[in-house]
């Protein structure tokens, strides 16, 4: 019910009231300083956010964080509402992942809930090989654009007859069109040559068929971009054997979830890549693979770079390009020049080694 509230309220509003929603500034920016919502989440999230704050402070980056403690410990909706309202006010958020406890049937995933309520329909992940990180494949540069609000994640499941459970996968023309257009616009803006839609229309002829046909229709409006399609199983195989053939991947929800994890894996694992979630009005930045990293929490071995990449994305989004570049430069140095690698990249450095370098380097870049 909540997922559609945006559309419903839109039609119900009078013209005058409609105009008001657009008058609100997209980000809370006062006197050159921004307020950004921070959701530390579970697992390594709180540690990572602490580091982000430290480095931001060291670089004098004009961003203040409004922290909302949304995690799996709280069963009530109070924190959830607080988080959503806070993002609606500030327009932008940085987020650690929130663990979903599967033991309670009534407990919907907080992550999904957040995306649905804020209508963050596009998840964008840029997977790029780092020359300093040893991986099986080199020179990978893939953009994955995933539909984030429908498909298998509709949270509609029921038991019709005892022992028979149905889970509804919803594909709509409207949302398929929106994500396809987003992907092509993205490709156009970033000078990409090819968009590949991933599906399973040979089996799910109607639902995935609708997605594929919609993508084809939109593709016709972009004659300068090659359009291609590939079945999900084949795509997974291709991705691990010949990843260089891909440019932009356009994905429905669940396939997107799987492929983004594969793609992050082949460029160096969950510690590096960041993910961006966009809606019409709000944006949430997080790590590329949405995992909490509980097993490495508190051990000082987690790789903080994914969260710093997410921070750099955030800074770019709010228009602080200068600081965004500073962060990206420093991250590049950590990975490729100084090679301060945490165990997930095969190194033996600790999280704090990376952070110490980042603090010094960001300081050096901003205080000259």
């Amino acid at each position: 019910m909540q997922s559609f509230s945006f559309q419903q309220s839109k039609t119900a509003q009078t013209k005058r009231e409609l105009s008001k929603t657009h008058h609100l500034p997209p980000v809370a920016k006062y006197g050159g300083r921004f307020v950004v919502t921070m959701l530390p989440g579970d697992g390594i999230g709180p540690e990572m956010m602490g580091y982000v704050k430290t480095v931001f402070k060291a670089g004098g980056i004009p961003v203040d964080f409004e922290e909302v403690y949304l995690d799996s410990m709280h069963e009530t909706y109070e924190h959830m509402d607080q988080a959503i309202i806070s993002i609606k006010r500030n327009g932008v958020a940085i987020k650690g992942n929130i663990e979903t406890r599967d033991n309670s049937r009534l407990f919907r995933s907080r992550n999904v809930e957040l995306r649905l309520q804020l209508d963050l329909f596009a998840n964008v992940i840029h997977c790029k090989s780092q020359p300093g990180v040893k991986t099986r494949h080199q020179n990978i540069d893939i953009i994955l654009i995933r539909q984030n609000t429908e498909g298998e994640y509709s949270c509609l499941e029921h038991e019709n007859v005892k022992g028979v459970v149905e889970s509804l996968k919803i594909i709509t023309k409207e949302r398929s069109e929106r994500i396809a257009r987003y992907a092509f616009e993205y490709a156009k803006k970033h000078n990409r040559k090819k968009v590949t839609a991933v599906h399973k229309a040979n089996i799910m002829k109607m639902s995935d068929g609708l997605f594929l046909n919609t993508c084809k229709e939109i593709a016709e409006q972009y004659p300068n971009i090659t359009f291609d399609n590939m079945i999900i199983d084949n795509c997974s195989m291709q991705l691990v054997s010949h990843p260089n053939q891909f440019d932009v991947l356009l994905l429905p929800n669940l396939y997107g979830n799987i492929l983004t994890n594969i793609a992050c894996g082949i460029v160096g694992g969950p510690g590096i890549t960041s993910g961006q979630n966009f809606g019409e009005r709000y944006a949430v930045f997080e790590t590329g693979t949405r995992n909490t990293g509980k097993s490495v929490a508190g051990k000082n071995i987690a790789n903080p770079l994914a969260m710093f990449n997410a921070s750099a994305d955030l800074l770019e989004y709010i228009g602080l390009d200068k600081y965004s570049n500073v962060l990206r430069n420093s991250i590049d140095k950590v990975l490729n020049v100084e090679k301060i690698h945490t165990p997930d990249l095969g190194g033996s450095n600790s999280t704090t080694d990376v952070i110490d370098f980042l603090i010094d380097d960001v300081k050096a870049q901003t205080q000259v």
């Binding site: 008001k20 008058h23 609100l24 500034p25 809370a28 920016k29 006062y30 006197g31 050159g32 300083r33 307020v35 402070k57 004098g60 004009p62 203040d64 409004e66 509402d81 607080q82 309202i85 609606k88 006010r89 500030n90 010094d360 300081k363 050096a364 870049q365 901003t366 205080q367 000259v368």
Partner: protein
């Protein structure tokens, strides 16, 4: 690119400042001994200086700016002032307002004394310089933090509230005309867009500073449409902030409540003219125009200026003005540009001086001069 900039800024520094720079290095090396830094690490390169526009203004403004500069020099604050003299009553000495606006846009921050505004305009122009700056930079939100300073004798103790004022529309629209001889109309403009914007600002400010309550001040019982719109916008914005208490109060009652029970207020948001009155009233409660700082925000820049805007023209050259408000403005500016340690040091020194009561200027019932006060602050700066 950064290195080039640094080189340029070093070349621009006149030689007389060389000794300051050496001192600067010394203090920096001291501050580096804090636990977060290891002594083994190489010292970082010289910090860049933050550039800040400085508008001394009329009346005692220039004297107060001297006080600020002296204190900054004593602390070796890495801030470089770009001083521009702007005045409406001394037009021949004044730089064009466009220069000032350009400078503030470039630097993002400014420290400003008060500009005196003549009652009648020689050129027939209705907009004052202040209004021009505010309008062109879109400095829509004026924030005055009224806080009792221990050591200042006032009727009410422990005041701590914030008044937030819309300052780009309302009665200050500069739209006045004589429709029939002897009948003058002055337009008060209230728009939904700006009302919503100031309301959001107030609630965001309250959230950021951990405040509990926002009070909207209005006169919607008489001006049902204009103030009604303002109030409606505040009410609607409040729904996005469930953790903050929201209430509204009529302006006349607010004035009475403020002089009798000022501790009732937390954050207040109001249209232009009411804000002007309440700012002055509240400053009076906390010790007068000389001790209350204020700031004007747009989305890109901030101007820090004393909260109650009085030039104190009768004290010019007498060396008796109280620089507290201006110094507090400077401290707030330092916190804004990510120099919180300097800001804290300055605030602590000021509080020590005022609490000790050793250097009271005339407005606080003493006989100390501006210079005495400034020297007292400098000697109280803790290391």
């Amino acid at each position: 690119m950064f290195a080039l900039k640094a080189l340029k800024s070093i070349q621009n520094v006149p030689h007389s400042n060389h000794s300051f720079r050496i001192l600067n290095e010394f203090f920096r090396s001291l501050s580096l001994c804090s636990p977060s830094f290891q002594a083994s690490k190489p010292l970082p390169k010289a910090e860049s200086k933050v550039k800040c526009t400085l508008i001394p203004g009329d009346g005692v403004g220039p004297e107060l700016c001297v006080a600020v500069k002296e204190v900054f020099a004593a602390m070796s604050v890495p801030v470089e002032f770009e001083e521009l003299f702007l005045s409406e009553v001394n037009p021949s000495m004044s730089v064009p307002v466009e220069t000032v606006i350009e400078s503030i846009q470039r630097n993002g921050i400014a420290l400003k004394g008060i500009l005196s505004t003549p009652f009648s305009s020689s050129s027939g122009e209705l907009q004052t310089l202040n209004m021009k700056i505010r309008k062109q930079l879109d400095l829509y939100a004026n924030v005055v933090h009224v806080k009792s300073l221990p050591g200042i004798q006032t009727r009410h103790k422990d005041l701590d509230f914030i008044t937030i004022r819309e300052q780009t529309e309302g009665e200050y629209s500069a739209l006045e005309h004589e429709s029939v001889p002897g009948v003058i109309e002055c337009m008060k403009i209230v728009t939904e867009e700006k009302s919503r914007r100031i309301a959001k600002f107030a609630f965001d400010y309250a959230t950021k500073h951990g405040r509990k309550k926002v009070t909207a001040v209005h006169k919607a019982n008489i001006m049902k449409l204009s103030d009604g719109l303002f109030l409606k916008c505040c009410e609607e914005t409040a729904s996005l902030y469930p953790q903050l208490k929201f209430e509204h109060m009529i302006i006349d009652n607010t004035c009475m409540q403020m002089v009798s029970h000022p501790e009732k207020f937390d954050v207040m948001v109001m249209p232009n003219l009411y804000g002007n009155i309440i700012d002055n009233l509240a400053s009076g409660l906390a010790g007068g125009a000389g001790v209350v700082p204020g700031a004007s925000y747009s989305s890109d820049c901030v101007i820090y200026e004393p909260g109650a805007r009085h030039t104190f023209g009768e004290a010019v050259g007498k060396n008796i003005a109280n620089p507290t408000a201006m110094l507090l403005c400077a401290a707030k500016m330092l916190a804004h540009v990510n120099l919180p340690d300097y800001s804290q040091r300055l605030t602590n020194a000021l509080e020590t001086v005022i609490a000790s009561g050793k250097a009271r200027t005339r407005d606080l019932g003493g006989y100390a001069s501006t210079t005495d006060f400034t020297r007292a602050v400098i000697s109280s700066l803790a290391f």
